[in-house]
């Protein structure tokens, strides 16, 4: 019996690694189809986007590295698709992370189609919204909070007239009379760094612009603090929030299909914690007392 406890107390960590790999792969190939409860924060965020009115201007910011995108793929695709479904809503894409531009191109290609007469980016039509008329992709801006502060102070100058592809899109801003930061009606930020925090500091605190954040797991605790303090208007926390938003928006794939593997691996961790404690009390503690 003590051999069993000894084994439990001294399992090689490479066995943990291999087990996590195998469990994850198996459940991605053979999902179980488990039910999913929707949290109040995600439901509230969904309703905020659902209540956007024609003429509203939304900034969708990517402060997202490739690692964060793997987690928030579901949220990025479903939320952008949802915003683009709203009639008359205008969108400006911005990026404050250097890996974000290529990821946004993937999202646009995933959710849109090339406009008639065009063969490459940025001329994609998403849910009837045309590039240069209803939305623009202004690209990457260095400096993170410094640029966001600059955007809040001098909106048009900080954005410039050229989009990420070097095309002059001043017509988009002039035709919709977009000149100042207070013209923005909603900011949605996908974050693996604290882009939404900076938009909160320089847009919400100065102009009352609501800020919604979809963040990676390590930022969830801090985001809940800001959400409960009323600084964030909505949050979509990590992969679980992404799956919930996808469910509400009826957008298949990504996080929804990963939930089963997500559940089982977390249960595996709980099992390991229990085994470790059984091994500790059955063997290691006796060894120490001896």
């Amino acid at each position: 019996m003590s051999n069993i406890f000894k084994m439990m107390a001294h399992i090689d960590r490479r066995i943990y690694y291999a087990a996590v790999f195998l469990l994850t792969a198996l459940l991605l190939i053979y999902p179980l189809g488990l039910p999913l409860a929707i949290s109040p924060e995600v439901r509230h965020t969904y309703e905020m986007v659902e209540n956007l009115k024609p003429g509203d201007l939304v900034i969708i910011n990517f402060c997202l590295s490739a690692s964060g995108y793997q987690q928030l793929q579901g949220a990025c695709n479903s939320m952008i698709d949802h915003v683009f479904q709203k009639e008359g809503v205008l969108v400006i894409f911005t990026m404050t992370a250097d890996q974000a531009p290529i990821m946004l191109e993937g999202i646009i290609a995933n959710n849109g189609e090339l406009m008639a007469g065009y063969s490459d980016y940025p001329y994609y039509e998403i849910n009837g919204k045309q590039y240069g008329v209803d939305y623009v992709n202004m690209g990457y801006y260095p400096g993170l909070f410094k640029w966001i502060a600059s955007l809040s102070a001098d909106f048009r100058t900080a954005l410039g007239n050229n989009d990420w592809y070097g095309v002059d899109v001043s017509e988009f801003f002039d035709s919709h009379d977009i000149n100042h930061a207070r013209d923005v009606d909603l900011v949605i930020s996908f974050d693996s760094d604290d882009g939404a925090g900076d938009f909160m500091n320089y847009f919400f605190l100065e102009y009352g612009t609501p800020v919604v954040q979809s963040q990676i797991g390590v930022m969830v605790a801090g985001a809940k603090v800001q959400y409960n303090a009323g600084n964030y208007a909505g949050i979509v926390p990590s992969i679980r929030g992404a799956a919930e938003y996808q469910f509400l928006a009826n957008y298949p794939g990504y996080a929804l299909t990963q939930m089963d593997a997500f559940s089982v691996v977390q249960f595996f961790l709980i099992l390991l914690m229990v085994l470790g404690n059984v091994g500790y009390y059955g063997y290691t503690r006796h060894q120490k007392e001896a």
């Binding site: 490479r14 690694y17 996590v20 790999f21 994850t24 792969a25 991605l28 190939i29 690692s67 964060g68 995108y69 793997q70 987690q71 793929q73 250097d98 890996q99 531009p101 690209g139 990457y140 801006y141 260095p142 909070f145 410094k146 502060a149 100058t157 954005l159 410039g160 007239n161 050229n162 990420w164 070097g166 925090g197 909160m200 500091n201 320089y202 605190l205 990676i216 797991g217 390590v218 930022m219 969830v220 605790a221 603090v225 800001q226 409960n228 303090a229 009323g230 600084n231 990590s238 992969i239 679980r240 992404a242 990504y254 996080a255 299909t257 990963q258 997500f262 691996v265 977390q266 961790l269």
Partner: protein
Amino acid sequence: MVDLYNGGILILSTVTTFGLYMILSGVDSPWFAFAEHAFVGTAIGLSVVVATDYIFRTIIPRILSNPAANWPTIVSVILGLMMILRVHSSTVHLARIPITIATAAGIAVSVRAEIFSGIINQIKATILPLMGLGTWWDFVVNVTVVLSVLFVFTFYFYTTEIKGPLQTANKIGRYILYLAFGVLFAQTYMGRLGLLLGLLQSFIQPYYPNGAVTVVVVVVMIVSTWLLHKRYPELLEKLTPE
């Protein structure tokens, strides 16, 4: 059939990903060294390109549209160029001017907003009503938040002697922090697991070609590393950097 471009991306991204994962095995592997150096090299290049592109896309057109009116932007660009002088010891003193401006302005810009979002709003959110609430549960939640914040604050007192009631509060604050760290661990685990799931899904699905290529490449990497360890240890020694 998979074309050369997408096939190349598939193979190299699999090599990069699983090469980096080889660190989990605890054995030296040239695949890990290659993946690490390739990632670092391309990431550095990408950062330089996107940052410089911002200058060419936004700043230069602004200057060229009206140089006389945009002379402050020209001064900004000169300060930016002075920053590059930091690379040589004879000119590093000139780089201190843009560093000073960036540091001072950066800290001032962040602090002036932090005072509100980080201090005032947080304190406001902690001052919760304890009477006249809807249900007893709301009372429990509000009392827990208020007391938890106060107790955890006492844990961070470093400049006074902790004794008497302060010592009890400090101890309770420590227990609250332990509970909070357990919760934060679980939330962090959720986040990192989501990363792994997204990453693995892109390598497994669709089964052809992604799944097939992943299996082949991983088998080749594992077999080659095993062979190097067993048959050619001197070559392995040369192929793994210090």
